[in-house]
């Protein structure tokens, strides 16, 4: 039977522990501190004035709908840097079911070799 105090117990992980409730309390305190710091910010900020207008170095502002960054552009730099890796991965993922079975046969063979030879 689960007792009320069980809900407060800490998860032991042999070399450490994890208690989400303690973490939650710390996070709330951190948010409060952040809120207080925010409250000490600039008082002259005013919404819907020149201050809040988008500044694009003099370029015209696009329609809002066109300003959404597409998914394929989100990690563009990362993809470019690892092009060499992705080209290999793309070659691996052919979409051909014969290749799927070929990979299975390769793993089967490797495991046979490892367990058989050793």
């Amino acid at each position: 039977m689960i007792e009320i105090q069980d809900f407060l117990r800490t998860l032991g992980t042999d070399s450490g522990f994890w208690n989400p409730l303690v973490w939650g309390v710390i996070i709330i305190i951190a948010f409060l501190i952040a809120y207080i710091i925010r409250g000490m910010g600039k008082t002259e900020y005013k919404e819907k004035t020149e201050q809040t207008k988008v500044f694009l170095s003099g370029n015209p502002e696009l329609e809002k709908e066109e300003m959404h960054v597409k998914a394929s552009n989100v990690y563009w730099g990362f993809m470019e840097s690892f092009k060499w890796l992705y080209s290999g991965l793309d070659k691996m993922h052919t979409g051909n079911v014969s290749d799927y079975i070929l990979w299975f046969v390769i793993i089967l063979g490797v495991l046979f070799l490892i367990l058989g030879v050793i």
Binding site: D6, T13, W23, M67, H68, H93, G95, I101, L115
Partner: protein
């Protein structure tokens, strides 16, 4: 004996029989009324779930209890001394997996109510759905090797038909075809391994095999074939390629159960490695100088290598993908990697003579098994959210989505919960299990946990991309008419989200009450053998 005791006694058979019977009755009830059919299917799943809960209560009441159910007799062994009768056995691990399957099944049918409403052929859909659930429970509960193969096939055939359910979309049929080819190949090799074992020991019963296995050359071959076949069914890299196709093209409600089926295959691998081969895993394969090269060490290192590959490739491919469901499918591949990383780490240490190594191995197993539950919930929730987005917008490409948080507030919140959970962010459930995996693999080799943590950060990056692309940003004019999904879909997602939050806030309760018994069941082989067959 009252009715509850009777129900518990026959529960392993009923858990499979009820959805199986329900599957064949569904087309008949469909003739009466569509609404009645939906209610009937939900009733069948709830009834099965109630029996699973009764059985779970019975199993967890006594530490180390194993409930055996023999078909056609009281003992699995006949008078001639042959263990030929089919038996179901339920220990801590079986019931743990059955509880996961139960959650997925309940949520799946509730979600299907509105999600599949516009489709025709729903009598076939629900028949196959219940068949898939019955097959999944069968795989989990059986204690017989051949029976395991039969249920694996039932699940595969039903899954294939459901993956290809949207036949008007050519890619769905293509994915269904790929799935059945891969499944049939995997199953054929599993059958081959079963035949090898049967030829040697005249037995198909897992406990009998566990007590007799000697690790001969043929046993070696059977192990290789079994592990490879089940690894392919579980979607381990580089045998994972069917998974994004199948998960990506199936209806979201089907993908949810497919996650459970994949995990049932992983359960099969766990059962075969730790229970059937458990005692012979510490066999010395070779000796180099004074160092003994043991089977568990070699197999463990191989599995760890596959796990790292699975995590790494899964995350990298998810990062590149722009199709919502395929992206989650690649993330699911990475998540499977975390589970097998823990299993591999456990294999390398748990058979050691040193007390600390055994502790590390048990802790790794605990993390791995806990992560099976968390993965099913987290990835399942994300697939349901992807289904909800598709239901509302008819879009799957992330490049064409945006600003949905304005129209679909609840779905956005559920996605955020799933995002944090699957990326292992505190205080969600994924963090608790990943923390145990990180710590235990660190004891084996710090590099393993460093790679695992880095990939988890990349996984967060993957879902931040989805969150930004689909839910944030300005309102898109083409989605002006998009509304929040129907209540039954929200309820289904809400159930999973609540369980995720509960496990996240109280992980110790879950670990102590359902994960630890599963770990004990898998590590205490002698208890399994003596309880199931009375020590032949």
């Amino acid at each position: 004996m009252n009715i509850i005791d009777d129900l518990i006694l026959h529960s392993p058979a009923l858990i499979v029989a009820i959805p199986l019977l329900g599957a064949f009755l569904t087309p008949l009830i469909s003739k009466i009324n569509d609404k009645m059919r939906n209610i009937f299917v939900i009733f069948i799943v709830l009834l099965t779930s109630a029996i699973v809960l009764l059985l779970a209560n019975d199993i967890y009441a006594v530490c180390g209890k194993i409930h055996t159910y023999v078909f056609g007799g009281s003992s699995p062994v006949t008078q001639g001394g042959f263990a030929i009768r089919i038996l179901f056995e339920v220990d801590g691990l079986n019931i743990f997996m059955a509880l996961i399957a139960t959650i997925l099944a309940i949520v799946g049918v509730i979600y299907s109510w509105a999600f599949m409403k516009e489709n025709t052929g729903l009598d076939k859909y629900y028949t196959l759905y219940l068949l898939m659930i019955a097959g999944m429970f069968g795989m989990i509960l059986t204690g017989d090797m051949f029976n395991f193969f039969v249920f694996l096939e039932i699940t595969s055939i039903a899954s294939c038909a459901l993956i290809a359910f949207w036949t008007n979309k050519g890619k769905a049929v293509d994915a269904g075809f790929k799935y059945i080819v891969v499944s049939a190949t995997g199953a054929l090799f599993i059958l081959f391994a079963i035949a090898i074992l049967y030829g040697q020991y005249n037995a198909l019963n897992m406990a009998v095999l566990a007590s007799k296995i000697e690790f001969s050359f043929l046993d070696n071959i059977a192990l290789v074939v079994l592990v490879s076949g089940l690894a392919m069914k579980a979607g381990i890299v580089p045998m994972h390629m069917w998974l994004p196709d199948a998960y990506g093209r199936a209806p979201a409600s089907v993908t949810l159960i497919l996650v459970g089926v994949t995990q049932a295959s992983l359960y099969g691998a766990l059962r075969m490695i730790f229970t059937v081969y458990g005692d012979s895993l510490s066999t010395t394969l070779n000796q180099i100088g004074d160092i003994n090269i043991e089977l568990n060490l070699i197999l463990g290192i191989f599995i760890v290598a596959l796990a790292l590959l699975t995590i790494f490739i899964g995350v990298l491919m998810a990062l590149k993908e722009n199709n919502f469901k395929r992206m989650i499918a690649f993330a699911a591949v990475a998540e499977i990697g975390y589970m097998i990383l823990a299993i591999g780490a456990a294999l390398t240490t748990i058979f050691s003579a040193a007390e600390t190594d055994i502790g590390t191995g048990a802790m790794a197993l605990k993390g791995g098994i806990f992560h099976i539950l968390n993965d099913a919930l987290d990835v399942g929730l994300l697939f349901l959210v992807a289904g909800a987005v598709y239901y509302a917008t008819k879009e799957t490409s992330l490049n064409r989505l945006g600003g949905l948080a304005r129209n679909m507030k609840y779905t956005t919140i559920f996605f955020l919960i799933g995002l944090l959970a699957v990326s292992g962010m505190p205080p969600m459930n994924g963090f608790a299990s990943k923390l145990i995996i990180y710590e235990s693999t660190y004891q084996v080799n710090p590099i393993l946990s460093i790679i695992a943590i880095l990939c988890s950060i990349l996984l967060l990056a993957v879902f931040v991309k989805v969150f930004h692309s689909a839910f944030l940003g300005p309102k898109q004019p083409k989605f002006d008419d998009v509304k929040e999904v129907p209540k039954s879909m929200l309820l289904a997602m809400g159930i999973i989200a609540c369980i995720i939050i509960f496990i996240g806030l109280f992980p110790d309760i879950v670990v102590n009450n359902i994960v630890q018994p599963a770990v004990n069941a898998i590590t205490d082989n002698s208890n399994y053998i003596s309880n199931v067959i009375g020590g032949i």
